[in-house]
């Protein structure tokens, strides 16, 4: 899986690349408008992370060029501008997702995996993890061939964990993903704990070969051996 990170900020580019490399993606980078245009015309990528504000041109122009070249790769816009019209414009131009800075790396990983899955699995969209089988379209989970009943939030949490397996997941990132942006300010997100507890118990009871581990102060880790 090849990913192109188009981002002018060197440090930002570095952390994104490092994080994605940990997920075994092949990462290439472009730091300005001309280099981005050069790379997209020469190579194909499974996913492109695109910053809108680039030195030498707009990220939206890169997006237009991608569509003109009829490239199949997914595009996720990452922008410091969390403005609705930018988002709408980007999505209208054919971007698959939009992520506002600052974001959590886990969130980025989840989004990247989600857009790649949507494109590559021909609508199948089933994730297999040991004895777990998660159907992202039907939102159903099967463990050892048996149906595992999860409520909406439990399923959302599990899908987030699955996208970031064996990685440290910040509880703020998780809370924002499940409960939305407006949840901020409400203390330290301890309230997500009860949902996690239920999910953990359900996984354990169905003897799923995966475990949710609490990491003090930060959040959780979804351990899949």
């Amino acid at each position: 899986m090849k990913i192109l990170v188009i981002e002018d900020e060197a440090e930002m580019q570095e952390v994104i690349s490092k994080s994605l490399e940990r997920e075994m993606f092949l990462v290439e980078t472009a730091h300005d408008f001309p280099s981005a245009m050069g790379k997209i015309s020469m190579y194909d990528y499974d996913c492109i992370l695109l910053d809108i504000m680039l030195p030498g041109g707009s990220g939206l122009a890169v997006l237009e060029e991608l569509k003109r070249l009829k490239k199949s790769g997914s595009v996720i816009i990452i922008s410091a501008k969390n403005a609705v019209d930018d988002k709408v414009k980007g999505l209208n131009l054919g971007a698959d997702d939009y992520l506002a800075k600052p974001f959590h790396l886990a969130e980025l990983t989840a989004r990247v995996k989600s857009v790649i899955r949507r494109k590559s699995l021909d609508g199948q969209n089933v994730i297999e993890l040991n004895n777990l089988s998660i159907n992202m379209n039907d939102r159903t989970v099967v463990v050892n061939g048996k149906h595992l009943v999860l409520n909406r939030k439990e399923f959302d949490i599990l899908s987030y964990f699955v996208s970031n397996k064996n990685r440290l997941i910040n509880k703020t990132a998780l809370a924002e993903y499940i409960w939305g942006d407006n949840i901020d300010q409400s203390d330290d997100f301890e309230f997500i704990y009860s949902q996690i507890k239920n999910l953990r118990k359900k996984l354990k009871d169905s003897s799923a070969e995966a475990e949710i581990q609490a990491v003090y102060g930060i959040g959780y880790k979804f351990i899949v051996s």
Partner: protein, 425 residues
Amino acid sequence: MKLLNHTLSYLAIAFFLVIGIWAAFFYMNMLDEIYDSIDDGLENSKILIIQKAEQDSTIINRTNFMESNYAIHEISAAQATAFRDVYIDSTMYMVNEKDFEPVRMLKSAFRLSSGKYYQLQVISSMVEEDDLMEDLLYAIWWLYILLLVSILVINNVLLKKIWKPFYHILERLRGFDVERQESTKDIETKVAEFNVLNESVTALLERTTTSFHSQKQFIENASHELQTPLAIGINKLELLAEKTTSDLELREISDVIQTLQRLTRLNKTLLLLSRIENKQFTDTKIVDLNKLADQVISDLSDLAQYKSVQVLCIHESTFTQTMNPELASIMLSNLIKNSIVHNFEGGSVEVRIIDAAIVIENTSKVSALEESKIFKRFYKNTSANTSTGLGLAIVKSIADLYGFKISYHSQTQKHSFKIAFHRSV
């Protein structure tokens, strides 16, 4: 009172005094002149009568005024030598008026060639002072009224025309809205002061508008520019946290991440505020507030459950409001979230939807808050560092944007917020 008529009230007092004093002097002078001329006439009559008395002895026998205007009595020599001419005011019965009227009388003494001494009284009809005074008062009163009326008319017609640029500037200041771009209109006037005033006002308004806009722009740019460094910081720490094996280090890293996240929240909230105030939420829809309230409460149910706070929604009425749906949701969720967070275990929140208004009431351990402060930015009642202190400021700015009225009310251990929406027509 308008400026134009303000001067009139002072002028009215000034005129009253000036005209009053003038009238008194005028009256006294006039009276003096009248006496003078009557007295001259009497003197003349006296000389004529004395001359005639030498030739016509019948005159000496006129001891009564009757039809003539003089009377003569014989007196002793001693009396005559002691006599001095005197003018006195007296009254006499007038046949035509059937009343006693004032007369001026000259008393004098003379000696005829016969050696006899006589006393002479000559009279002349006088002006009736009370009538004169009355006429004069009426005249002055009319003059006074006429003056005031003419000043009023001149003020309102002429001065209004002259002061037109001033009122124009006043109108411009009154209608000034720092958020709205206004067209600068030139004022035509020859009055130097008005030109200076107009230039100063124009410059002041321009400066205000410019600084307001640049400040707004600055907040927005600063918030945007902060996003990337914040993202780098948080993401680097997240990578670092995955590398470390030490629990202690993990805790430290976690603390730093938490702090950066607080900064991120603050930044996002400030951006939101500036976007609301810059009127960047332009698309509006008809928002069903009953539905929205239920939705927000259900979104916050996990938080409420964790806090052991019971949230109740009472739909007493149903109504919709045309506004930006995102802002509607932010407004309600900020208020309801606040009422859940600033509550105690086992407390309750009551969301009541009444006619064109929503009332959110919650129990709390905290006593009444200061209404003048709670909607201010960065106002915090608790020292909870997770709160940005901007939640209610956002609610207020949304309410201001649409002209909704938001009020706070508290009674023993209960706080309630009410948003009054526009009544649908």
